[in-house]
């Protein structure tokens, strides 16, 4: 058992079960990605102690939290797992401030630490200009929470009730509430989904800062591969209740082993015959070169969608992996445009919207495609 989070369990709910095994070192971030309904939130509930495991165990900092074999089960409230749930789950009758301070407040009740009884509600954290009617914390702890709220842009909302928050505001409160609870393990379930570009940008920066001084393990769930890939040290890909691939973000991007991981990472997967670094495409005259000279026989080659360059004419000083083809489809996806190429090799290419305009791409356009041999990887096995 490691010092961080070590999980290897099966958890069952009526129609569905999840089997997962992973370890997250102290201070590092596991990105858990997977499609809707693949079981991400179920794993959250298991780790947080809201759903007991049916098999296997979950351990944190060397101690067992949940173990089916020995019937160990540490109650949610003793796990010190800070969770930002997928729905904000704010406490409707408390102000934003009270929501955020809840964790500290709740724990201090038990440990008789530097908090005061209810009667002294008039004190405000230093720097506050808001009337925080039902504040209970004093001194340092209040200041700490207050500065956290300020960093995340919540100070103006401190006295509000959750019912008068917008969707994005509520999600932010939920995130900060989890951070403020002094967790030993942090779980964020789609923490940015309701946030706009600017807020997301700021929150992600603040969160990076926070995480850099956080000594516990973190599990970050996101359907946005970008978020997960940027913030996470490790990625686990969950499909239909099982982890199908795990590795560093770069691993996943370069060598996705399943179709889903590939589409998540925006990477093409092509079945080819490899021979000393030369990949021949079955049923096509095209061959591609790869940096990887070890693979032989039928393998899956992976090519990141954004590693492919498009030109209207044959590029000068052309790299060896260059071929002419046609545009089959054009689809805007978020801030990039995904161009589908046709014969001789169906590939997805991500380009910026302005390149589309510049190159005058429309379905049917004739283009030249090119990819460096260093971007052509061999995935470990063939399992489309």
């Amino acid at each position: 058992m490691t010092a961080g989070l070590s999980a290897d369990f099966m958890v069952v709910r009526s129609l569905f079960s999840v089997t997962a095994g992973f370890e997250v070192a102290p201070g590092s971030v596991l990105g858990l990605v997977g499609s809707n309904g693949s079981g991400k939130s179920t794993i959250v509930e298991a780790i947080a102690g809201l759903l007991p495991v049916s098999k296997g165990s979950i351990g944190l900092e060397g101690a067992l939290l949940d173990d089916a074999a020995t019937a160990t089960f540490v109650d949610a409230r003793h796990r010190h797992v800070g969770v930002a749930f997928q729905e904000p789950r704010l406490f409707p009758h408390m102000s934003v401030w009270e929501n955020v301070a809840f964790g500290i407040d709740a724990r201090s009740r038990r440990s008789q630490s530097p908090w005061r009884p209810r009667r002294s509600q008039q004190v405000q954290p230093s720097g506050s200009t808001v009337d925080l009617r039902s504040m209970r914390l004093r001194g340092q702890a209040a200041d700490h929470i207050w500065s956290l709220m300020e960093a995340f842009g919540l100070s103006e909302l401190a006295a509000r009730r959750p019912t008068s928050l917008s969707g994005g505001q509520a999600q932010l409160v939920s995130l900060v509430r989890a951070l403020a609870s002094e967790p030993r393990l942090l779980i964020l379930d789609e923490p940015f989904s309701a946030m706009d570009v600017d807020v997301r940008f700021n929150v992600r920066n603040q969160l990076s800062d926070w995480l850099s001084s956080f000594s516990g393990p973190t599990v970050l769930i996101s359907h946005d591969a970008g978020d997960a890939f940027v913030l996470a040290d490790q990625i686990a890909v969950l499909e239909a209740g099982a982890i199908t691939q795990s590795g560093t973000p770069d691993d996943i991007r370069r060598r996705p082993t399943t179709r889903f991981a590939a589409s998540l990472a925006g990477t093409n997967r092509v079945t080819v015959d490899a021979n000393a670094g030369v990949l021949s495409i079955p049923g096509s005259p095209l061959t591609l070169l790869t940096w990887d000279h070890t693979a032989a026989g039928q393998v899956v080659a992976t090519i990141p969608a954004e590693a492919i360059a498009l030109y209207t004419s044959q590029p000068a000083g052309s790299p060896r992996n260059t071929w002419s083809t046609t545009v089959e489809s054009i689809q805007q996806m978020g801030s990039v445009v995904r161009v589908g190429l046709g014969v001789p090799l169906a590939l997805a290419v991500d380009v910026t919207p302005s390149s589309v305009t510049e190159l005058g791409l429309v379905p049917g356009s004739a283009v030249w495609a090119s990819v460096k041999a260093t971007e052509v990887n061999i995935a470990d096995g063939v399992n489309m």
Partner: protein, 246 residues
């Protein structure tokens, strides 16, 4: 239409009241003693009901033990028992010769009947079900996800109860307290049977009304109106937030 059902009888009652002699009746020691005893007993009983009843509702709503449905049904029984029979049952259990009361009396000389505590006990017995059932119903309808969130934030069960669950079901707890208190205030049969009826000691307002009714009809109506006035005042004065405002 539904309201008129309540309002008409009250108007009729009020229009039959001896308005001129009201002041005199209300300052009579009978009425004042009864008012005092009613107030103390009903409030004490309500507090006890809250202290015992809320946890009971919790256990019934949240835990699953064999015989839960039977306990749930038993809790409602004091409501269907004719109050006199309820009082008799209380005597059989807690009276001087009762199953528990007997040994207790023999050992300590403590006697529940004929005392204020007897009134309180009778009130609790009769009124508690109202609180329990109301809170039970609310707990069953409650969204439990905020509670789970609170647990992950390290809150103990008692803390969750106090800061998350109770505020969320506050309107129903409020309704339950109102029902409970009103029932205790109006309690007659079980009280008279169990605690007896002694002016200045166990005679509550309803008992005073009943006794007075035998000799002095106007006085009885007047004391009833006092009862009505007290409860209406309390209920109107109750801040919205204690009775149904989230």
């Amino acid at each position: 239409m539904a309201v008129s059902l309540f309002v008409l009888p009250l108007i009729a009652l009020a229009s039959n009241a001896p308005w001129s002699s009201l002041g005199q009746i209300y300052t009579s020691p009978v009425a004042l003693d009864a008012l005092r005893i009613s107030a103390i007993a009903s409030i004490t009983a309500t507090l006890i009901c809250v202290v015992l009843g809320v946890p009971l509702a919790f256990v019934l709503a949240r835990t699953d033990f064999p015989g839960r449905r039977i306990v749930r049904a038993l809790v409602v029984l004091p409501m269907v028992l004719p109050p006199v029979v309820g009082g008799t049952a209380l005597l059989l259990a807690f009276g001087r010769r009762g199953m528990v009361g007997g040994p207790l009396y023999d050992a300590t000389g403590l006697l529940l009947p004929y005392s204020m505590w007897g009134v309180v006990l009778a009130n609790v017995f009769v009124a508690m079900p109202f609180l329990v059932v109301t809170v039970y119903g609310a707990l069953r309808a409650l969204d439990r996800r905020p509670e789970a969130a609170a647990a992950t934030l390290g809150a103990s069960e008692a803390y969750i109860l106090r800061r998350i669950t109770l505020p969320a079901i506050a309107p129903s707890v409020g309704a339950g307290v109102v029902l409970c208190w009103a029932r205790a205030l109006g309690e007659f049969g079980a009280t008279v049977t169990f605690a007896g009826n002694l002016e200045g000691r166990t005679q509550t307002l309803p008992l005073a009304v009943f006794v007075t009714l035998g000799s002095d009809r106007d006085g009885a109506v007047a004391i009833s109106l006092m009862l009505v006035a007290v409860s209406v005042t309390v209920l109107i004065a109750l801040r919205e937030r204690w009775w149904g405002q989230l």
